[in-house]
Symmetry: C2
C-alpha cells in the first residue's frame, strides 16, 4: 500500500479469537427462548464484527481509494506518502440494522411483569429517520472529502442532515418532556428546533476542528462514544442475583438465586430504558468501527478518517442526544471540544488571522511538535490585542510583540497548541495520548457534574 510505512498486521490469532465471541452474542438470543434484552446482545455481537470488519477491510480497500484519488498528505511527517481515506460507514450502517430485524417482532421482559413491546411504529419512524440523518451525513461528508468544500460553506451541512430528525419530531407534534415555564411555551417550539439543529452542527464540527494529528479525531469519537455507552448502562435494569444453569449440574433449566432486577437510574420507567437502549444500538457499533479504524489511524497513520468520519460520528452523537433526550448530558461529554471551540472563536470570526491549517509545527530533525503560530500582517485591532492579552494571561497562547506592545505573532488558538505550551514540545504520538487523557478527564468531570452537582441544581425528574 505504501513504500515508506510498513504494513500493520495484528496477530490473526487475536482476530480469530474474537469471532466466536461475536457469534455467541448474535446467536445466543436465538437459542435462549426467553432472553432478556435480546436486541442488545445481538447489537454487541455485531459491534465486535464491526471492529473485525474495519480492521480487515481498511488494508483491502486502501489501494482502490488511492487509485480513485481519495488520498491525503500527512502534514506532520518527513515523508509524503499518500494516505487513504477509507469509507467505514457502510459497516457501521449495516451493524445498526440488526436492532430492527431482531427487535421488530420480539418482546422482552425488563423486570418481572414489565413487558416492553420492542417495536411500536413511532419507534420505527424514529429509528428510520436517525438512519436517514446518518446517511445524509455520510454522503455530505464524502462530497466534502471529494470536493474539499470551504469552511464557511460546510458549516450548515449538519443542519441539512438533521432535517429527518426534525421532521419526525414535527410529525410527533413535538411532544417533548422538558419543563418550560408557561409564558415561554409559544417560543419554545421554534427554539427547540433551532437547538436541535445547532446541537448537530456543534457535535459534527467540534470534532472536525480538534483535528490534524494522527488518531486525534477517531480517539475523541471513541472516548465520547464510550462515555455515552457508560451513561446508558446506568439506566438499564441489571440482575442483582445470579442465574445458575442447571445443565452444569446435569439437569435442565436454571435456578435463580436472588433473581431481582435492579431498576438502574430509570427507576422503573420503561420509557427511559427504551431510550437508552436506542442509544446503545447506535453507540455500540460506533465504538466497534472507531476502535477498528483507530488501529489503522494510530501513529504513524496508514489511513485518514477524512471529513466523512467526523460528520458521521458527530451526527450519531446528535441523533442519540436528541432522540434519547439526553442532549445536555451529551454536551458535558464534549467539554474539551467546547473549550477548543471557544478558544478558536477569535480566529474563526476574524479577530485573529486564521491560516489554512492550524496544526502544530513539526520539526523534522528533532521529531517534535511545537505550537504553530499565526502572523499579523496588519496592525491588530484594539479588541484583538485585548483578547490575545487575556488569553496569554490564562496560558492559552504565547505572543511575540514589539517593545511598544504591538503583537506580531501569536500561537494558533487550539487545544493542541495549549497542550504543547503547557507540557512543552512532544512527539506526535505523545500529543495524541495527552489529548486522549484530556478527553477522559473531561468525561470524568462530566459524570461528576451530571450525577453529583445536578442534585444540587435540579430535583426530581432529571431526564
Amino acid at each position: 500500500m505504501s513504500e515508506s510505512i510498513p504494513a500493520r498486521r495484528l496477530p490473526s490469532v487475536l482476530l480469530f479469537s474474537l469471532v466466536p465471541i461475536a457469534a455467541w452474542f448474535v446467536v445466543r438470543p436465538l437459542v435462549d427462548p426467553i432472553p432478556s434484552l435480546p436486541a442488545l446482545y445481538v447489537s454487541f455481537g455485531f459491534s465486535i464484527f464491526a471492529l473485525l470488519a474495519t480492521i480487515c477491510l481498511v488494508p483491502v480497500l486502501g489501494p482502490t481509494f488511492v487509485q480513485a484519488n481519495l488520498k491525503g498528505r500527512d502534514l506532520l511527517k518527513t515523508y509524503s506518502t499518500p494516505i487513504v481515506y477509507p469509507f467505514v460507514n457502510p459497516i457501521y450502517s449495516i451493524c445498526i440494522l440488526p436492532r430492527l430485524l431482531n427487535g421488530s417482532q420480539a418482546q422482552y421482559t425488563v423486570r418481572e411483569g414489565m413487558v416492553i413491546n420492542a417495536f411500536p411504529h413511532y419507534q420505527l419512524s424514529v429509528y428510520l429517520s436517525s438512519l436517514l440523518s446518518l446517511l445524509i451525513a455520510t454522503m455530505l461528508g464524502f462530497l466534502d472529502d471529494i470536493f474539499d468544500i470551504r469552511w464557511r460553506h460546510k458549516l450548515p451541512i449538519p443542519i441539512i442532515a438533521s432535517i429527518p430528525l426534525l421532521m419526525v419530531y414535527y410529525a410527533d407534534n413535538g411532544n417533548t418532556h422538558i419543563v418550560v415555564p408557561i409564558p415561554l411555551r409559544p417560543l419554545f417550539g421554534p427554539l427547540y428546533y433551532l437547538y436541535m439543529s445547532l446541537l448537530s452542527t456543534f457535535s459534527t464540527n467540534s470534532i472536525n476542528i480538534l483535528a490534524g494529528i494522527n488518531g486525534s479525531e477517531v480517539s475523541q469519537a471513541v472516548v465520547i462514544a464510550l462515555s455515552v455507552v457508560l451513561n446508558d448502562l446506568l439506566y438499564l435494569p441489571w440482575p442483582t442475583g445470579f442465574r445458575i444453569p442447571l445443565h452444569l449440574l446435569g439437569s435442565r433449566g436454571e435456578v435463580e438465586v436472588g433473581g431481582v432486577w435492579s431498576a438502574g437510574m430509570a427507576y422503573g420507567s420503561t420509557e427511559l430504558v427504551e431510550r437508552h437502549l436506542f442509544s446503545l444500538y447506535f453507540m455500540l457499533p460506533l465504538v466497534g468501527v472507531c476502535l477498528g479504524f483507530l488501529y489503522h489511524n494510530w501513529y504513524p497513520s496508514r489511513a485518514f478518517p477524512g471529513d466523512t468520519l467526523c460528520y458521521v460520528t458527530g451526527m450519531a452523537f446528535a441523533v442519540v442526544g436528541i432522540q434519547a433526550h439526553f442532549s445536555k448530558t451529551l454536551l458535558l461529554f464534549f467539554l474539551p471540544q467546547i473549550f477548543n471551540f471557544v478558544l478558536s472563536c477569535p480566529q474563526l470570526f476574524g479577530l485573529v488571522p486564521c491560516p489554512r491549517h492550524r496544526v502544530p509545527r513539526f520539526d523534522p530533525e528533532r521529531h517534535l511538535l511545537y505550537p504553530s503560530k499565526t502572523q499579523f500582517l496588519k496592525r491588530p485591532l484594539r479588541l484583538s490585542t485585548v483578547v490575545l492579552r487575556v488569553l496569554a494571561g490564562l496560558g492559552c497562547t504565547e505572543l511575540t510583540a514589539l517593545p511598544d506592545g504591538t503583537i506580531l505573532e501569536a500561537t494558533n488558538l487550539t487545544l493542541l497548541n495549549v497542550l504543547l505550551l503547557r507540557f512543552g514540545p512532544m512527539r506526535e504520538k505523545r500529543l495524541t495520548q495527552t489529548l486522549i487523557a484530556v478527553q477522559i478527564t473531561g468525561s470524568v468531570v462530566a459524570f461528576a457534574v451530571r450525577y453529583g452537582l445536578a442534585y444540587l441544581v435540579y430535583d426530581g425528574d432529571r431526564r
Copy 2:
C-alpha cells in the same frame, strides 16, 4: 466548461416565466383554507422548481465535477471532451420532503364526507424507508461512478438499497393484499421478499444496460415516470362539476355547479387513493429533475448521468411499485427494457462473447451509427449457434459466417442495434428519438394490456 461543445442556454424568459407558476402551486394551499389534495399541489410546484434548479445548477456545478475527476469520455464523438457527471439527486431528495412537511398535519377531503388523515405513523415509516432506499442507491451509485465497480459486483447493489423497504414490510407483519391460494401461503412470504429484491435489481439495471447514446438513460426514465404519473392520476378523484368563484361576479364565496367528485379507478377506496398519491409525490419531482437534466444530456451531451442517475431512478420506480402495490403494472412500463434484457441474456451469461461496451459503432466520416459487432475468437458452442440463428431469423442480430456455417461475428444483442438493423444506420440524435418512440409505444401497449386485457384475465379486485 468545454472548448468544443458550445454552452447551451435556455432563454431566461422561459425560466423566469415558470417561477411564478411554481410559486403559485406551493403557496396556494396556504391561501385557500380548505384545499383539496394540498400536498399534491405543493409537490407539483416543487417539481417545477426541481426542473429549474437542475437546468441552472448543472452548468454551475460542471467545472467542480471535472476538477474532482468525475468526468467521462463520449464514445460516439470525434472530439473527446471530458463530460461531467452531475449530481442531481440532492435536488430530487429535497423536492420529496415537502410532502412530509405539508402533509403531516393536514387532513384533506377526497370526496364529500370522506376525510383522510394524511399522516398516520405507518405512512411515515413507509415514507422514511423509501427515502432511505433512495439515498442508499444514490450513495452506492456514486461509489460506482468513482470506483467503476465491475458488472458482476454491482448486480447485488440494488438489493442492499432495498433493505429498508423490506424492513418496513417485515415490521408491518407482511400485510399484503395479494390473493394467494392457501397451500402456497407458507411459501409466499419469503417469495415476496425475493420478488421485491429482484424488482429493484431489475428496474435499476435494466435502465443501465439500455444505455450508451446521448440522452438514452434519462429519456427512458422520463417516459416511464410520466407513464406512472398518468396511471396514478387515473386513481385520483377529480371534480366533474365546475366551481365558479363569485368574486368574478362581485360577491364572496363560490358556487359549485355539478360539484360531484368522480371516484376515479379507486372506486371510493381511500387506501388506493393514498397509495397513488404516495407514488405521485415520488414521481412528480423525478419527472422535474429528469427533464431538467435531459436538457443538458440531450445530443450533443454536456453532462452525463453516470450510474448514479440510473440507480436512483430505478430505485424510485421500485419504491413506488412496491409501496403503492402496483408492481405488475410497473413492469408493463418496462417492456422495452425487458426486451433488451432478454435479448442481452446470451451475452450476459457467456453464451456469446461480451465486449466491455456494446454501444453502436460510430462512423466519424458519415456521422452515422452502425450496429456494433462481437467476434468469436473461439469456435462457438452448439447452443450459441442455435440461439444466434434463431435471433437472426427474428431479425434481432446479423451474422457473418463461414460457408460451413461457423459463425465468425454477430451484432451485439441490444435493442439499439436491433433498431439500427431494422431502420438502417442513423445519426445518434435520431436513434435516441427512435428509442423514445419505442418507449412511448411500450407504454401505450402497457395501458392497453392493463386496462383492456386485464378484464379478460382477472375480475374484481385488480390491485
